[in-house]
Amino acid sequence: MIKYYHFARIAFGDHLNNRLRIFTRYLVFLLLDWVMIAMWDLIYKSGYGPASIPRVDMAWHMAFAQMMFFLSPRLFVVIESDVRSGNIGYFLNRPIPYLWMRLSEGIGALLGNLLIYYVVSIPFIYWMVGGWPSGGAVAIVAVFVGLVLASVLHLLFQILAGLSTFWTNDAVFIYHSYQKFCLLFGGIYVPLVLYPSFLSGEVLKFLPFASLVGNPVGLLFDPTWSGIAGVMALQIFWLGFVGVGLSMFYQMCLRKVEVHGG
């Protein structure tokens, strides 16, 4: 495990070295938050806001839901590039599996983002929302922990998308399809509890897309120990399930490695 820690450590440093990229992404995140918070503000002011969710909770929900997709590095792009260029082959003769090496690097960069987004975002979101969530600090901490697990799950899905390049030669449309599923079934723009009856939130919350966004961010509305335990148990299940699936998929990919040239 120690070698994976060092890969994550170096990636952490490398990620924080690229300040322009971090600043640009953070700026986009704040703009998106501002738009979403302003939109729900308008809905509540016009009297159409859901009575079951206070305005501040909805605003914090929107801010955290957007944050999930900004926390993880764009790992699928790196893997797609490795596969398309054949670079992936050159990592195979090292005593560390490519799959877990890239995941360690992704987690290293994720930690760098967590440091920035968690520390810097709170005052910004508070300033934009104009109040704390009704669940208080416990709710925020619960969401933070839930988002860490969600981000690791998101990294696993990104690796899957990246490795699909072996068959599709293009990971972007796979990743975009995955994102659209998250958008539809993950509770990004509308909390899962508000989903219409034909898309029952009670069923959707068991899907991996909800474990990525809707469930951990939904802890804002239910920051109880049982709620937190339920969300995290489901996340851990999906982490294990996708992790095992990914390992098997990776073995199939290894047979497809073709490196030309020279």
Partner: protein, 324 residues
Amino acid sequence: MAQSVFVENLQKSFKVRKKSGFLKGLFSPEYTTVKAVDGVSFSLEEGERVAFVGPNGAGKSTTIKMLSGILHPDGGHVEIGGFVPWIDRKSMAYKIGTVFGQRSQLWYHLPAQDTFELLSYAYDMSRDDFKSRIKTLVDAFDAGHIVSKPVRQLSLGERMRCEIIASLLHRPKILFLDEPTVGLDVVSKGVIRDLVKKASDEDGTTVLLTSHDTGDMERVCDRVIVIDHGHLVADKPVRELRSGFIREKIITLAMKEEAIALDMNGVRLIEAMPHQLRVSVDTSQVSVEAVLQQAMKLSSLQDITVEDPPMEDIIKEIYAGSLL
């Protein structure tokens, strides 16, 4: 001496998709099979330095990629230090080092020393071992002033020195070098060749090197394996190749006189320009010394360059079969 590399009847083909119409390509694509390596067999003793040469597309890089565990072969048997590369990839990784001239194993935005440290963890080196090893290598490669610079700021020659340090860090028994001097200037090429040879001499590392450059072959290796169209064409000591295959020298003369006529057996005119003459000398018929003496008699020489013919020409001569 024990065998370090054993290759028997190695084969590898690639499927290349044929161009066809949109619908045909979608529902019934057709492929042609290109045999990149077709029944190659050879072996290397421990500590041997062997050049693996051939023209573009000959299959040398594909072979080295199969030997280093990057590619799965379609057939044949390979043992590298007792391991089958595509099966015992992880165990074999500790025994081999690889340098691919056109690929980098260094982190682009970070100093090379960070990559060295990372690799030392990947290869399970103890801290004391890593520190002493990196000191030895950095001193030997005179790289003290470059390892702390971000890799993106290094010249190609400096980067290549760091690449070789990275590949030697864990004391590999076998070093695979795929065109390590490609794109380098003459001075950097010389430095890299000397360093590889020195490292091999000191640690007894077996070296398998692919290159288009005869200098790499002559300055580093003791033996040459020639491959073409996936077949092994020749396997000779470098000395034999030099005296047997490289019978031709190219002489370029710069002189005060506008033109001279060098009519000698074994001398063929390549190019004549005012005050300059370029000839090919067949050393089996006439020595370079004799040609130069004759040239000095006929003119006031200002500059002389003696070169080996291009590698492609030597390879062509070997393929012709007249020298095998």
